[in-house]
């Protein structure tokens, strides 16, 4: 009963197993978010030939390289425009963007806000590890005020985006936030986002022990403890009232889901009558 097994992992069919073990560091939360995403995609029961995963650059952006579906590893910040093109050219596809906070909200921030404004029918999963993990733990647009990073040695003078509020203000029609510990809720939200028609955004908090963790003297499991102890689950919360504060609490839940015409609907109604 103990130890080494010869059986296959239930997600092996969804993975490019020849590339596993992946490059993510021990304790990096990206793998857990990726795993939840794969469970959600595989449980949708849709044709794998009609599902594609697009990533940008960063540790999180490596996701596209491990999924056993059509996938694209685009340039830094450009996952959303690439995914937009795919979706418009081939509306039958379910297009999932899996990328990091730096990729989606710093260099790629403009693409995010405009895709949300247009209600482009995409599912965007953002692994928020509060920094640029891949390049050495620099401050990002999501780094908490006063947190230490390799570019903010005395503490971050800036404050972070509230990503669910940003997404809501821009026009996203499905918005959720979880941590990598809330695997079941997370998987459920990704599944719902995949079936939702319109721009869906899921923020997932996940530790980067090598970058953010090391600079802020957080051990491998310390950030997870914060996620566990500070979680305040409030489904349907007003995005303007959601908080992400390591002391006061972290609001989690499915915050927003409503319908309005997508970009493709509007494009058709203007141009194809």
């Amino acid at each position: 009963m103990n130890a080494a097994t010869t059986q296959k992992h239930p997600l092996d069919g969804m993975l490019r197993t020849d590339r596993i073990p992946h490059i993510w560091c021990p304790g990096c939360g990206i793998g857990t978010v990726f795993s939840s995403s794969l469970i959600a995609i595989s449980s949708m029961g849709t044709d794998p030939m009609k599902t594609a995963v697009v990533s940008g650059i960063g540790c999180s952006g490596r996701g596209a390289g491990y999924v056993n579906l059509d996938s694209y590893h685009t340039t830094h910040g450009r996952a959303i425009p690439f995914a937009t093109g795919m979706k418009l050219a081939n509306p039958e596809l379910t297009v999932v963007v899996f990328s990091g906070d730096g990729d989606l909200f710093a260099i790629g921030g403009n693409h995010f806000i405009h895709a949300a404004r247009r209600n482009m029918d995409l599912t965007v999963i953002c692994v928020n590890n509060l920094n640029y993990g891949m390049t050495g733990g620099q401050a990002a647009a999501t780094t908490p005020h006063l947190a230490k990073t390799s570019t903010t040695q005395r503490g971050n003078p800036e404050g972070p985006f509230n990503l669910p509020l940003l997404a809501y203000a821009c026009g996203a029609t499905f918005i959720a936030r979880w941590t990598m510990l809330h695997t079941r809720d997370l998987t459920q939200s990704i599944s719902e986002a995949l079936t939702h028609t319109g721009f869906s955004f899921i923020e997932v908090l996940a530790p980067c022990p090598t970058g953010y963790g090391r600079k802020n003297k957080l051990k491998n499991s310390d950030l997870l403890k914060v996620y566990q102890e500070k979680a305040i689950i409030k489904n349907g919360a007003n995005p303007a009232e959601t908080i992400l504060d390591m002391e006061q609490g972290i609001t989690l839940g499915k915050f927003v889901e409503y319908d309005r015409p997508t970009y493709a609907d509007n494009y058709k109604s203007v141009n194809c009558d």
């Binding site: 009963m1 097994t5 059986q7 992992h9 993975l15 596993i20 993510w24 079941r184 491998n220 997870l224």
Partner: protein, 89 residues
Amino acid sequence: MKFWRVPLDSDEIVITRGVVHIIEDRCKGCGYCIDYCPRDVLEASSRFNSKGYHPPAVKQPDLCVNCHYCEAVCPDFAIFSVEAPAQPI
């Protein structure tokens, strides 16, 4: 499993039991499966895998309830549970 009072319908209840499997060479030794297993099934081991990490060991196999949480939380696709044949309590 211990009960403070044996349920009256104990002959009808079946408790899901699981068998946990570890793909040792994928493990990076983060310990999340050990920390977050609700039944304290797993423990740290001093053995090394081929990459030099310490994979978990199964300490109390009979306590596994096949909740799949270790499987879900593992960032490395290195552990999973399967249902054990049902047993009446």
